[in-house]
């Protein structure tokens, strides 16, 4: 689903990613480990071009999205991202947070289809929907997802009134509203109080069970061991180890990884 070829990312003089090659297949749950500052976030952010690669290619469904000529927004709509600090829209309610992007995209599609119809070109009849239909559909999806994470009563409150764990659960279902093909998580539990980590990991676990493709940067070793189908260890800008959780945790080969695991466990 995602293929990374020879990805390099340089900030000023600082070589953060130095030739990363990586393939992520449908249904895989890939956990990325690495010391702080090793470029885990940078790698994750390159996957949806939140950071533009210095060189190399990122293929998403066989389209090179690192190419500046592609409309990156269209592709990002199918790549969900969850941040360490949630990044919920502060001026929108929980429900508005969740419906904003789906409504925006559907409106754009409807406008385009109507124009194509007007000029006698081929168009997708399903795209032509009234604003009312679009809003209703987005709301229905949002409420359904919200109730799945047990937050349906919070639909009309502002994010700042929620706890960290609740905010992160909203952030996850907000991303799911776009029906993404893959979800990226950048240390989703690092900013949470310890007692809230579990509720967020539970949501991620159930997402994994439903077969969502996931790429997760985390320091939760228990989660990695239990849920991951693959674990990557990156340091010095390279993927130093890539294997099943069993291989990586029980028989680490690279001395760097051995050191890292010793420090963490």
């Amino acid at each position: 689903m995602i293929r990374v070829c020879n990805l390099r990312k340089v900030f000023d003089e600082n070589v953060v990613l130095d030739g990363i090659n990586l393939e992520i297949n449908k249904g895989e749950i890939v956990v990325i480990l690495g010391p702080s500052g090793s470029g885990k976030s940078t790698l994750l952010r390159c996957l949806n071009c939140m950071e533009d690669p210095t060189s190399g290619n990122i293929f998403f469904h066989d389209v090179d999205i690192a190419d500046m000529k592609v409309d990156i927004n269209v592709h990002r709509q199918k790549i969900g991202m969850v941040f360490q600090h949630f990044n919920l829209f502060k001026n929108k309610t929980v429900l508005q947070n969740m419906t904003l992007a789906p409504v925006y995209v559907a409106k754009k599609k409807a406008r385009k289809a109507r124009l194509r119809k007007l000029f006698g070109k081929s168009y997708n009849a399903e795209d032509i929907r009234s604003l009312k239909e679009i809003n209703a559909a987005a709301k229905e999806t949002a409420i359904e997802l919200l109730s799945r994470v047990g937050l349906q009563e919070k639909a009309d409150v502002y994010p700042s009134t929620l706890s960290g764990g609740q905010q992160q659960r909203v952030a996850i279902v907000r991303a799911l509203c776009m029906k993404p093909d893959v979800m990226l998580f950048d240390e989703p539990t690092s900013a949470l109080d310890p007692e809230m980590v579990g509720e967020v990991l539970d949501v991620m676990r159930s997402l994994a069970q439903e077969g969502m493709t996931m790429v997760v940067v985390t320091h939760e070793m228990g989660f990695a061991r239990e849920v991951a189908s693959r674990v990557l260890f990156i340091d010095e800008g390279k993927v130093l180890e890539d294997g099943t959780p069993k291989e990586v945790f029980d028989t680490p080969k690279h001395p760097r990884l051995q050191q890292f695991l010793q420090k963490i466990l």
Partner: protein, 244 residues
């Protein structure tokens, strides 16, 4: 000493009489109302135009500078801002009224030219305020929007700018007050504002003391009313949305 004071007071009473007679009997109040109306029109429309222009400029100035068009617009905006912040507003008024519009062969009333110039001028100042407001919004808000596939401009319009506006409402209030006070120069191009109305009253009644005093009082009342309004708006915003 006491005697002198009484004479002055008596004198002052007479001046008030002259003023009131001119205002009421000679229909001087009509010009004052006209002046008040024009002052309000120039300040309010000027502020409105300024907010629109200022927001657009600020958005250009914080945009990523990959594309040539953005760099070009950015250069245009910076020339614009330096011109309007770097010259006195009277000079700008005179330039537009006596140079620019005659050159392009357009007829424009002095009130309209004032609205335009005050709009363009406050646009330059508001762009700086708005830029500060946008930069004060957490970067994560833009990232959250972009990661969902919203464009830069859509995220700016729906997420970042609404939050920026909340942050800068007190500063915008001050800008509006400054604008009202500065409108007192529009008579340079012949527009009838408060100053012109009271100045005319003084000229026609050969008596300036009371008209200018009355003028100052009206300006102060306007400014106090607006300050009050801003306070109410601020309190409303804080109450209706605890998130900011």
């Amino acid at each position: 000493m006491f005697y002198v004071k009484v004479i002055c007071m008596g004198n002052f009473g007479r001046k008030i009489e002259i003023f009131l007679e001119y205002m009421i009997a000679n229909n001087g109040y009509k010009m004052v109302l006209e002046g008040l109306k024009n002052t309000a029109i120039i300040a309010v429309l000027g502020l409105f135009i300024g907010i629109v222009i200022g927001t657009l400029i600020a958005a250009v100035r914080v945009s990523p500078k990959y594309k040539f068009i953005v760099r070009f617009l950015n250069a245009v905006c910076s020339i614009y801002v330096s011109f309007f912040r770097g010259t006195p507003i009277v000079v700008q008024l005179l330039l537009f009224y006596y140079v620019l519009f005659p050159l392009i062969g357009m007829n424009i009333t002095s009130v309209n030219v004032s609205v335009l110039v005050f709009g363009l001028n406050s646009g330059a100042y508001i762009s700086e305020i708005m830029r500060g407001g946008i930069l004060s919004v957490d970067r994560g808000q833009m990232e959250g929007g972009r990661a969902m596939g919203l464009s830069f401009s859509a995220t700016m319009m729906k997420i970042v700018i609404p939050q920026a506006i909340k942050n800068i409402i007190p500063t915008m209030g001050n800008e509006f007050i400054a604008l009202i006070k500065e409108t007192s120069v529009v008579s340079f191009v012949g527009a009838t504002d408060l100053y012109k109305a009271f100045n005319t009253a003084g000229t026609n009644s050969y008596e300036f003391m009371v008209p200018y005093l009355a003028m100052a009082v009206i300006y102060i009342i306007m400014v106090l009313l607006i300050s009050l309004l801003i306070k109410i708006i601020e309190r409303r915003l804080r109450k209706s949305d605890k998130s900011l």
